[in-house]
Symmetry: C2
């Protein structure tokens, strides 16, 4: 495959050296694809096949991938959905279903333009692997990605420790609002060091539970547009949508920020990273998706726009092939069964119970926390996801000391985050796994612990 179209886009300018050189060679796939269509006798398939009766007691006359019975016993799916490899980019039907799901989640009437402007989602081995894949696709060692200071700790493992790239942090909140100026300043700073701006945003956020209000979302969007106009570099925004459906307040944006970014023209490229872990409550499934927002105005003809999608897909499949080969089959097959047998509306309906349960906990825990009258704590704005974050006065209470005291004296477990260089000192509370009935006691003990300091 040649990469003539993608080379013309602002996306190409934002790729790392790895992103520029990676591709999936045609070789083996070209020949096995042709064999499937043209051959009577096929000697291309590197999976052991046989007549089921020859390798399973009481097996059928069917020509099947050889398997051990246990993998069939523990799953009611057809052995063809459990034993063989899934395709490199993911099961084709799952990719299509997830594309429809992304269109559906937009809550937009203009489904056609969304469908047109997004790539076919590629399956990643969970969202972590999506973040790793996209970051290595974009960032060379030493280059920077912009992120709020409060973020999932694993970003630092992926970006700093693994890829030897940098995170340009900015203070997340100013007076209980998203720090738009901080984001602009970070962009300005990075624009002086490199020829692309890469940003990662995560709403609802881990660890704070923050979701932007509609007004804040509009301000962030405006800031991105203004900054891009000013620095004239390609912008790529990684939208980490791990907690996408879990928003609990009418005031906040209840769809992904990806859709806002998709609508604006020009050199702002959103990449949506989502998956079944929280959306379909299957953490152990390791099925994530990476979906690119592509702007039609980069390209002259519709034909070339489709070629761009094919070129990008080949590169991403090259990334998968050279790191994980492909993602497990069982969870992809179950996901597809859910979409075909149950349908999107019934998935949402089944999940609604969980969302309501979390919403009640969210409301109660925030109410209880607001009753604590202490100058030494503040709660970050939160309206979604699985967590909230309590800041502690760093001059008086070290977060790790507080967590230790809370655990020892009050038998309450929380995660302290203490990164004084990033101006973070507080505790993350995962109310997603605390029974509603225990929340008042949980917060009471935190209050008691606070009084000890």
């Amino acid at each position: 495959m040649e990469f003539k179209v993608i080379e013309k886009t602002p996306l190409f300018k934002a790729l790392s050296d790895l992103g520029k050189r990676i591709f999936l060679p045609a070789g083996i796939f070209y020949w096995s694809g042709r064999a499937k269509k043209e051959a009577e006798l096929i000697g291309t398939i590197g999976t052991a096949y046989g007549y089921e009766k020859d390798f399973i007691d009481g097996g059928s006359e069917e020509w099947l991938p050889c398997y051990l019975e246990d993998f069939k016993e523990f799953s009611s799916l057809n052995v063809r959905s459990v034993v063989p490899y899934a395709p490199i980019g993911g099961v084709a039907e799952v990719r299509k279903s997830w594309k429809n799901w992304i269109v559906k989640k937009s809550q937009s009437n203009d489904t056609e333009s969304i469908e047109q402007s997004i790539s076919l989602p590629i399956v990643t081995q969970g969202i972590t692997n999506g973040i790793f894949m996209i970051c290595s696709f974009l960032l060379n060692p030493g280059e920077s990605i912009i992120s709020p200071n409060k973020r999932w700790g694993n970003y630092d493992n992926i970006i700093t420790k693994n890829l030897a790239a940098n995170i340009e942090s900015f203070e997340f909140f100013i007076e209980g609002k998203f720090n738009v100026q901080g984001l602009k300043d970070a962009i300005q700073a990075v624009s002086k060091k490199q020829k692309k701006i890469i940003i990662i945003l995560n709403f609802p956020n881990n660890p704070t539970g923050y979701c932007p209000t509609r007004e804040e979302a509009a301000q962030i969007l405006e800031a991105l547009k203004d900054s891009q106009d000013k620095v004239k570099l390609p912008f790529v925004i990684l939208v980490d949508d791990a907690y996408e459906p879990y928003t609990y307040s009418d005031e906040v944006l209840d769809i992904s920020f990806f859709y806002d970014l998709l609508k604006i023209e020009g050199d702002i490229i959103p990449i949506k990273l989502d998956g079944i872990s929280k959306e379909l409550l299957a953490y152990g499934g390791r099925v994530g998706f990476a979906t690119f927002g592509l702007k039609r105005n980069w390209i002259d003809t519709d034909e070339e726009f489709e070629a761009l999608k094919a070129e990008l897909n080949n590169k991403l499949e090259g990334m998968n092939r050279s790191t994980i080969s492909n993602t497990n089959h069982f969870y992809q097959a179950v996901t597809q069964k859910m979409f075909t047998e149950k349908g999107m509306d019934r998935i949402i309906e089944a999940r609604e119970k969980v969302k309501q349960m979390l919403k009640e906990r969210y409301e109660l825990i925030n109410a209880e926390l607001s009753n604590i009258d202490s100058p030494d704590i503040s709660i970050d704005p939160n309206a979604g996801g699985f967590f909230l974050f309590v800041n502690l006065n760093p001059d008086k209470i070290k977060a790790s000391t507080f967590a230790d005291h809370l655990l020892k004296k009050y038998k309450v477990g929380v995660i302290p985050i203490e990164k004084l260089n990033l101006n973070i000192n507080g505790i993350r509370i995962a109310y997603c796994s605390i029974d509603l009935g225990k929340i008042p006691e949980f917060i009471k003990r935190i209050q008691l612990a606070l009084e000890d300091f």
Copy 2:
């Protein structure tokens, strides 16, 4: 965690910059671990939990990870083995079972010394991911790994395209035997460029089906020892055991070459890469394992030797955390069920039927090929795995032209491999997926196609 012991070993000298810097930070795991033990009220778990009755119609009073029914419907495993995350390094019991499995596969009586000298296998997302993980753990961009010229094509994707490292190739065979001198020369060449020797070997081999005879294995081992004595650099040997159990001739080594490497003292470090894809016939499961052979004589005390294992494990978990987080739960759970409910001997027994089936095909296809009397072909030595390789005279028959002709005129599909710079021109036949009854016709058509040239 400090890395005081590993820094003293030859392994550390062989690590890449990434390998040297990576680790798994204690933070969140330390606090959630303590909470599990010490807390009455836990707010550390980032997975939604609830009483089953609150999110499933007709659910129980049990406190469970929130799930959607489909993931339960399609699997008879407990929801706790399907829905939640598996641990970063893999399900603890699976890791232990696989360690026992590796000991068992050694066919050795001295199980204790094997058990002592290997690390606890870490779960990778299939063997591809194991190769990617270990190569990035060892190789900086520009550094070289040594491999025979005939190798799985994906090595090139991982090493060259993804990691920007080099493969130092040597001619695999000389007069139908493993080219021991070629390996030695390659080591010599690389020793002039870098301070470590990294080698990848794959027996039974893809694409040739080659397995070393016992004599050849002894020669390779001797060559490695001699070379290491000579160049005095740390040697790391990646043993790609994807096709481990599938050997069909009494003359060849029927256990992994890993065990030979494990026995020798000094700075030769074997890393075993194996997994369920072919061993348990679950390609779509994406469960692989990486296991290090560690030499007791590197270290003074038993205590420090255990510390070395812990430090290495932390680094490998850091690799997982920063790329894939963890591997899917379902296939790990089924694997564990097989080990506990069925047991190792019965797994081998169930698989034996598949192995016998493949052996019959192996014998027949080699017999049929030997009947072709043509100066323009030669069959590489083969005695195991899923494939064999037919070399074509490059002066007369281009492999891709031959494959195209074979497909068009005779409707037979094979994979041509044509890398003239590596002295490769031939076709790979995957007899693992060809019915025994069709093999004579398959080879007859190849003979007819040959006669056309």
